[in-house]
Symmetry: C5
Subunit: 299 residues, 5 copies
Amino acid sequence: MIVRDAPSLPQLLFAIRGSIIVQTAPKILFFTLYAAAILWIDRSLLPLPQVSIAAMGIFGIALSLFLGFRNNAAYDRWWEARKLWGGMIADVRSLARELLVFLGAVPARARVLKTVAAFAHLHRGWLRQSDARAEALRADPAAADFAARRNPPDAALRQIAEVLRAEAEAGRLSDIGRRALSERLASLSLAQAGCERIASSPLPFVYSLLVLRTSYLYCALLPFALIDTAGWFAPLVAAVVAYVFFGLSAVTDELEHPFRDVINGLPLDAMCRVIEIAVAEALDEPAPEPLQPVDGVLS
Amino acid sequence: MIVRDAPSLPQLLFAIRGSIIVQTAPKILFFTLYAAAILWIDRSLLPLPQVSIAAMGIFGIALSLFLGFRNNAAYDRWWEARKLWGGMIADVRSLARELLVFLGAVPARARVLKTVAAFAHLHRGWLRQSDARAEALRADPAAADFAARRNPPDAALRQIAEVLRAEAEAGRLSDIGRRALSERLASLSLAQAGCERIASSPLPFVYSLLVLRTSYLYCALLPFALIDTAGWFAPLVAAVVAYVFFGLSAVTDELEHPFRDVINGLPLDAMCRVIEIAVAEALDEPAPEPLQPVDGVLS
Amino acid sequence: MIVRDAPSLPQLLFAIRGSIIVQTAPKILFFTLYAAAILWIDRSLLPLPQVSIAAMGIFGIALSLFLGFRNNAAYDRWWEARKLWGGMIADVRSLARELLVFLGAVPARARVLKTVAAFAHLHRGWLRQSDARAEALRADPAAADFAARRNPPDAALRQIAEVLRAEAEAGRLSDIGRRALSERLASLSLAQAGCERIASSPLPFVYSLLVLRTSYLYCALLPFALIDTAGWFAPLVAAVVAYVFFGLSAVTDELEHPFRDVINGLPLDAMCRVIEIAVAEALDEPAPEPLQPVDGVLS
Amino acid sequence: MIVRDAPSLPQLLFAIRGSIIVQTAPKILFFTLYAAAILWIDRSLLPLPQVSIAAMGIFGIALSLFLGFRNNAAYDRWWEARKLWGGMIADVRSLARELLVFLGAVPARARVLKTVAAFAHLHRGWLRQSDARAEALRADPAAADFAARRNPPDAALRQIAEVLRAEAEAGRLSDIGRRALSERLASLSLAQAGCERIASSPLPFVYSLLVLRTSYLYCALLPFALIDTAGWFAPLVAAVVAYVFFGLSAVTDELEHPFRDVINGLPLDAMCRVIEIAVAEALDEPAPEPLQPVDGVLS
Amino acid sequence: MIVRDAPSLPQLLFAIRGSIIVQTAPKILFFTLYAAAILWIDRSLLPLPQVSIAAMGIFGIALSLFLGFRNNAAYDRWWEARKLWGGMIADVRSLARELLVFLGAVPARARVLKTVAAFAHLHRGWLRQSDARAEALRADPAAADFAARRNPPDAALRQIAEVLRAEAEAGRLSDIGRRALSERLASLSLAQAGCERIASSPLPFVYSLLVLRTSYLYCALLPFALIDTAGWFAPLVAAVVAYVFFGLSAVTDELEHPFRDVINGLPLDAMCRVIEIAVAEALDEPAPEPLQPVDGVLS
């Protein structure tokens, strides 16, 4: 995620990093040259047939609506993913507090909190399809037991349930306490399944097809409408239109998959660190530093 | 559901599978030829009356807004359905954990978890109006008892309630435990009723009528506006407009019924498998493999 | 509610039932003739002043936005009402399960479940301002006691609370059980109040005024813009515009009041039957058949 | 709130009451005359410069979008406020039931229910910045104690907490009962704070500025675009545009503050009466009549 | 936050304070002069190439849609932030009530409530990145202990958990009471994490880039379309367009960060005061005055 505080105007206008200019530049360039070629042919070789700009306008507005819909849906996925992680952070803090209230500062509390930190790392690993076992083991040496299961984060939570069971059987945890703590775990489980849902259910593929194909058709037809109405500005207008359509498409592609390790993705590493800090503080252990953005990007 | 990771540009532009080109091709073809015929008559036989492109533009934007509304509503149904199943997956995992916390690893726990897997299959069968009794029986041999009831998934949950009652009467399940577990069942019940709602309440029929009729009228009038403004591009523009309008309509029809076994439907089979995996892992039994997409489609 | 599975194209294009053509036909006819008259006067008697189609276009898009807003709000009300009833169905099933878990299969359980079926009928009667006492009495012979109160469904729930109190005093219902069951009643109460809210708070009247007046003004001005731009198509274009504007308005009016016994209203009868089935199945009594659509309409 | 059942067409077209015509008439009149003046100057004195209608169109659509956004936000506030009150009504009914379940029909129950009716009145008074102490005292003679506090409705709820504490100390209310009842109070508290939020946080002022200024600019420029394109219709078109823009603005202003005692405000009096009825019915006392609309307006 | 009750028309039209005119004036001025220069060159020096206003229209509508999306998202953040604080206010009041119900008016209750007031100040300090330790210490002299932790508000809540633990161990707080109170803390924790989420996750940077760059391009191209269509109105139209585009952008920038101490930010100081009042009233101590707006601005 890009974290930039009040960038200056030149930064905003000419920033490369974080803009989607890199992915879209080839397409923009292509359609600019294409528009120039059409214009040159019409002026120098033979008059080409034309499409009225009004027809393109209607088409363009319809396309904007569909681009807008896809963009909206992608942004909602991104923001929901962030909400789920925010809820998990709150759950970890509440778990720490509730362990204190119902169990007291016993060893089992530390064990549970360390496992929950490992849970966060394993969950991140699952979402990014990367290997987070090292960090999980650093957070909780006992993570080896559950990190090899089919669904490691779920196994981590089940591991905590075992601890609760043991404490209850030892008479250290009341029935009400058991209930309170296992509801906290259920809340983590729900957030986990929510993230899995976003990660495993992309936007319906057919939208991408519909929008992309229509964008290409649009850009291919546009110069025929610009010959008369934009004259020598035609290549510029074609470039702007390509920038807006393909740019928004590229943004949508990034936000649609909020857990990927891309520049506009969510800072899962930094949020796992926030969880580690919450655990360390609750255990009165020295807390690690929060992750800092590198080049304005928080990973 | 189509699961495709970063398809290449040619794939995106020329994919047949997953696009709605198959359903919409006849209409697109028809209106292309129709536009060509109108153009030919105007140029060769007799000048036809014309509609201004501006008038068609207004009409087109209004139509886009209504198509957009229907599309939005259909996508919301699809996504809500996915959320409900995601919540059910989390509930099953939490049920497994809570049975451990409140009952321990007793036989009743295994019985309940197997019944809940059968519940998932019966629920899927109800939603798809297909017969899922075989899978339900595989998951839980006792499923024969409740699979024949009017609402088999509800009967499965009631079956679990019987087990809880018996455990409570045998003194193995505390009052608080009873409450925690029966709330988990209520949460499954709520998700079940939510899915039933989506499956049994289609979008108001009148929207389909309104949108479809207006689309046909639009495509029938359009060529009279294109004669002058698009010239020889007229058939192409007509084809593009038909592609966008009927394409979006077809997408909407698929997403509106998220449980149907179509290419853009939800992968209920795969999600039932996820639930089976969660149950197997919780019981320390060998878990089946997750379902893999076949030709990029997860069923 | 219209329940039609995949109607054929001719059905879609020419269906009368379920379309809003009946309500809107007079207006469409009027504005078609009006446009024809204007056109005839301009061509045969005296040239009339004209409005540019571009001006009408802007106006038309603004109007579409407001129509779209109202339509959205009405659909949201309809869908929320359906959600509330779906939640009530789930609550009844959960109540049946929870009575089993906390009370067992005692007579009080049957009494409560029958009262809850009467509750559903009385609630339906309140919402439709029709007399549902007969069905309520059929579901629960004791319904005569509470069906005469000011708010009969609320009185039904209070009746259940009396039963819970008596069971608790007789020592058959624990404190936790009392809490679980009274929360289920609270959930039904919340859904009931939600339905009352939708039934008693229509969309602000001023929107109807604003939209309707503007639609009439629009249709009255439109022919002056069509003389030049649509020529002999003018009456057709006027008819289409009237169809879209007044059609959408009529849909909005029906969906805005989801509980009315109209063709696009919610199938309250069928949903009360679903509740009766859930109660009968829970009590192991013979369950009635689900209601079937009559002529494709579920009441 | 205006409660009108299916008004006839003439009523809809010519209703004054409930329309925003009164507030907007001066502006509409002004801009109609202004357009007529511009037209007259251009035709009779000297040709004026012109703006193309297309330019105004773009501007107009942008303005519609912003008006639409503000309208949406205001309607959401209005509807959320209604939802909060609907939730409070349900909470009062559930409180009555839960008091029965956990306390029985003891005097403390009546005391609590009377205080909760006073709470509703005091809350209404706070929201409308009017004095509701008389009604509060009528509902609960003990209201004098808390009606003078800084936040009277909150003090009313605290008063109920005192009663619960006393009952618990007297051994008449179990721990679980205490919890159930104090959660009901928390739910009322949340609704109260939600209403306070809506009442004290208007839509950001800057939107009003932006929209209003742009509307004035638009109406001032519009006649220069209408001279050629609407001819003698220009004053009429200007009037319609002013009606739509300022009318929607006026609606937004009313809905933005849903608690004000205006014609489109929420019927707080009637809802307080619904709460009084719920309390009376629960206590088996004679219930007052529901408030009836006066001239179609429910206050 | 600007709190102005029914400003008069001149105030609305000419208010400087609260409008975003200050931030946007330079840009508006620049593009006005730029349009005038282009016009002058075209009329006096050499005819410039032109873009058709229709082309700019399409572009403009697309841009409006994206501006509208960003504005919507920013407003949603602002309103969600307000909701979270509103929920915290309700939580504090409910905490005060629940402490009374479960603990009684013991010293621990006062201690907890004072700590929760300190929590509010520390949370505000965290969100505004300002030092709120002085106010926190004033509210709770014991705040020094936790104000120095990494996450001071979370440490404040943990501090309360310690008190609950101690009370429970001393036998003054039942298990159910412990549960009720620690859930209240969890609710505060969730609101805190929600605010942190909004504060630390800005809208994706790429939207700002896309919108701003397109706005500049638009304003740079516009005069070439206005030469013919707006004539001497061209600079005025350019100014209006710049006002709308950059004005909305500036609003979005303010609302996107609802916790900043700017004129359209949330009144965190006033809401902390509301919490202090709730605490004082609950403890029967003299309550401070609510904060009053200064020059119509509540900080």
